[in-house]
Symmetry: C2
Subunit: 255 residues, 2 copies
Amino acid sequence: MKQYAGYLIDLDGTAYKGIEVIPEAIEFVKRIEKKGLRHLFVTNNSSKTPTQVAGHLNQLGFRAGPDDVFTASLAAANYLYEKHPNARVYAIGETGLKEALAEKGFELTDSRPDAVIIGIDRDINYEKLAKACLAIRDGAEFYSTNSDAAIPTEKGLLPGNGALTSVISYSTQKEPVFIGKPHRIIMEQAHKILGTPKKETIMVGDNYDTDILAGMRFGIDTLLVHTGVTTPEMLAQRKEQPTYVVSSLEQWEIR
Amino acid sequence: MKQYAGYLIDLDGTAYKGIEVIPEAIEFVKRIEKKGLRHLFVTNNSSKTPTQVAGHLNQLGFRAGPDDVFTASLAAANYLYEKHPNARVYAIGETGLKEALAEKGFELTDSRPDAVIIGIDRDINYEKLAKACLAIRDGAEFYSTNSDAAIPTEKGLLPGNGALTSVISYSTQKEPVFIGKPHRIIMEQAHKILGTPKKETIMVGDNYDTDILAGMRFGIDTLLVHTGVTTPEMLAQRKEQPTYVVSSLEQWEIR
């Protein structure tokens, strides 16, 4: 087991499951801090602001500030700002996305936007989807915070933002630029914020298809923990394996 | 040019374009009737009842009754009735679908349904999509009236039912049984109603990807008319060509 200077850590399924904390994750983060190492929580959640996410973490027993949390909405707003700082943006999404865009100074509009961006929106309706399709057919750029198929909830697996995004891509036959895990964009930004050398940085998460693939594609080591989505049986079917696998973060020694 | 005893005729793009009639189509149908031949309008529209569609046709100058119109919703209700007559059904859709299911005596419910069916629904929302996903993950059968990517409107191309359906298929990783053109189910039923031998039956429409493919897959001759979606340039790129192509139905001689 190598020594790592920086940890990129997934949230849902890794630090908590909905409203239920995963206690070993609290200890894991404490051990990282005690060694003076760096960490950053990296989440595909686009609906909440970093302040909201940090608030949830603190309620569960973590000690976290907004700067410890990096969301797909922040990454999306940063990316769009790099590419097209004066873009007039049509955004479908919740508070996390709207605030991230507003903080970068983007003008939000549904009239002839330069770019369309979609994040999870539990108030989705036909009119919003229609406006997005019309704008994209009219030449607007197309971004999506993340390609998640489903969101785990108390009720079961509900449609994720990838599913909502597919309305637009199916209808317009245009694929968006995806920002979140397993795509590189969020990883590049998160890694830059973390500031540790790539070889000394590791991605930690429970979901092979988002967290682990994100780490692999970005070219860093990965640690899969079986406290969430990906079971040992699911993992056995994958050709490319994570660098490390543990059943609980308790098993991971911080050196 | 062969003689045909029965004509299956598409509506949008062939008989009319939204609220605008295609006058050659009126004459075309009159000429079919004058020769004592059979015809049936076959539409992927799932939102309207046959009575509503016939009403629209009459307003535009056609003479049509509800029995002259066969919708994807009727075909869906018939198909489900054949497969599963006592099914408790969760339906996402508009009047055309709800009425077709009610006429077959299906119990509509959102609680533990045996089958989920989706047609275009301009009142779509997250809760409806979530219920569909949960039911399908729980084992319910999955049907979709049609796979259309877009609906032509005065505003432009808005999301079609195939686009809405993709939320559920993307999220659950389950593909629905599609009923409408280009799929066989609607064609089999329409042909049975028409009652003419397959070799003497022709499918007439403006859209290669729905009408013409439907005819080809069902194994009947096809007539593409360039008054709607598929342009000559688009058609040129297709390997398998329709049996006949005309720029207007005026050019088609009824023998």
